[in-house]
Amino acid sequence: MNSKLSNNLTLFIILVVIGGVISVFLPAQFLTPINFASMGRQFPEYGLLSLANMLAMITGGIDLSVTSITSLSGVMAASVLSQYQTSAMPMGAVILLGILTALAVSVACGALNGILVAYIRVPAIIATLGTQGLFLGISIIITKGHNIEGFPPPFLFIGNGALAGIPMQFIVFIVVALLVGLLLVRTRYGFSMQMYGSSPRVSRFSGVNNESVLMTTYILTGLLSGLASIIIISGVNSVRPGYGSDYLLLSVLIAILGGTDPAGGFGTVLGLTLAIFIMQVLQSGLNILEFSPFFKKFMWGLLLLLVMVFHYYRRRYALRSAVRRTAAQREAVGQA
């Protein structure tokens, strides 16, 4: 408990510091409503994917296919939308159909991942590496490499509209994040996920249905990717297979930065959200300073390594103090 708190506190401090530095040096471009709105529109896209990878990592796995699921469900939804929007169906129904298509496709993809990991026992990393190609491949086959463009205007509200001045995506993200947080802390599945990630063996010996924990996890990661696709395609009013492939590194980085242990068992939505904000602020800063997207790639890779190195040292220190604390605790309660 303590470590979770200190973790999140550290992240909060980092966020404030970075935000502060950028605000001091670039107030004119950073501290504007336009910039904040823009940030609010950008981060939900990869934010949802980061949530997805956080869930996968909590169970000790990883989902490398999130961006491909996004691609595929986006393509399918786009096909439905562009196909039916000129038909006799009412606009609302078309939009609903499109959204449902995206979600259904993403859940199906997630289920495939789940079957591979839970029942065939393929390690998550390799299973999702394979399905990543599979899903992306299907989206390429469907679109033949072209874009699909032009969706019903009301649909575009999701990606471009705002409620009370707050961008729609932002609202969607906050709602989803809260739900995921609730899932982790207050539901049986969320709890079981964390325990499973701690030790699959003990989990099984405790009568937990490991397979359904894993299936649920990957269906959720799929669903989150599907949600992301809706936001993305409505934001740019088009879809291109392979969009957002850079988000994969970002989602892994954010999950780890947010305090999720890739070995499983630990992770908080609060930490993840703070990590997302940190990365978005950094990104905006880099954008304002007109650094190229290549530099960002370089930076994110570097950050990932740095965070892992930092965790390494912190774990060593924590282990030493934990052993000390254990001895002290046993003393305190009388060694029975």
């Binding site: 299973a127 394979g130 390429i140 790639k297 930076m299 190195v309 390494y312």
Partner: protein, 335 residues
């Protein structure tokens, strides 16, 4: 038992033969010497990358940075050659090799010093290397006109030539010799050096290797530097073949193809088992598949899908097999 090993590669060979036969029926031009030479030419690159990936996989690691190493080594070398005016193939190879080995060393450093999972390290370094190159060196593509002759000449060198009917010639590229050389050297290393045996051992039980007193750090450095070296060699070969250096090539295509080839060849994703023969056969199969998808009535858009499908199916079959083989008491097993 040895027969199990022979089984996987044998079946793969069988599949290749059957598939080739089927293709030849549809397109008799497939089974000609010229086409064979062409096939060799186009799969040399993938094969070299696959061998590097295979060696890392044997030790229980997963290196996804190799496409980046290949293209970075290539692009930088080409630019340096152009900038300095030195048009020397040996120099090109040396420079590329140095870059490849250096990047491999970076990978090994983070993997052995900080116990970071290999996938995460190489995911990070892939972006670091490539991002840095695109940012600091540039993104301008180099076309055949600007390419130093060293590369172009190299790409057109043949071991021997055969005449076609109309007076032109085709031949077996010298690159094949390089590939064969790499295969032989890798085989020798894996089979006859202590380092090679330790690589296998690491994939089987890293803890035991440590207890036995081996210097694991040194082995890790060797493994990743070797993989980096092979990747950089592939980069030079690649540019010599296609006579074009684009900073975003290789990186988008080769990763999954190589993994699919290695998986097809029977190497275990967890490390410790696999053969070079299997890897090479896997590359052959993937190459043939790539070039002849059209004959199955499928456009080239189906490639990505098939590669992903092969990985998923290949790995699933392996793991399902394992579950049926090991019906031991639950409490004694891993999960």
């Amino acid at each position: 038992m040895n027969s199990i090993f022979r089984r996987n590669e044998f079946y793969l060979l069988l599949v290749i033969i059957v598939f080739s036969a089927a293709i030849t029926i549809v397109n008799p031009a497939f089974l000609t010497v010229e086409n064979m030479f062409d096939l060799i030419r186009s799969s040399t690159g993938m094969c070299i990358l696959a061998i590097g990936f295979f060696v890392v996989l044997l030790s229980g690691g997963l290196d996804v940075s190799f496409p980046a190493v290949a293209i970075v080594a290539q692009y930088i070398t080409v630019n340096v050659l152009i900038a300095t005016g030195v048009d020397n193939l040996a120099f090109a190879f040396l420079l590329a090799a140095a870059i490849g080995i250096a990047f491999g060393a970076v990978n090994a450093f983070f993997i052995s010093m900080f116990r970071i999972p290999t996938f995460i390290v190489t995911l990070a370094t892939m972006n670091i290397f490539h991002g840095a190159m695109l940012e600091f060196v540039g993104t301008k593509a180099i076309n055949a006109g600007q390419l130093p002759n060293a590369f172009k000449g190299f790409g057109l060198t043949y071991l021997f030539s055969l005449p076609r009917g109309d007076g032109t010639y085709y031949g077996l590229t010298v690159l094949a010799a390089i590939l064969v050389g790499i295969i032989i050297i890798t085989w020798l290393i894996l089979r006859f050096t202590v380092m090679g045996r330790v690589i296998y051992a690491l994939g089987g039980n890293a803890e035991a290797v440590k207890r036995a007193g081996f210097n694991i750090t040194r082995t890790q450095f060797f493994i990743y530097c070797y993989a980096g070296l092979l990747a950089s060699i592939m980069g030079i070969i690649h540019v010599s073949l296609i006579r074009y250096s684009n900073a975003t090539y290789i990186i988008n295509t080769e990763l999954l193809h190589v993994i699919a080839a290695v998986v097809l060849g029977g190497a275990s994703i967890m490390g410790g088992t696999g053969t070079l023969t299997g890897t090479v056969l896997g590359v052959v199969m993937i190459s043939i598949l790539e070039k002849n998808l059209v004959l199955l009535g499928l456009s080239s858009y189906w490639q990505q899908f098939f590669v992903g499908l092969i990985i998923v199916l290949g790995v699933s079959i392996t793991f399902v097999q394992k579950r049926f083989q090991g019906r031991r008491t639950f409490a004694l097993s891993r999960d």
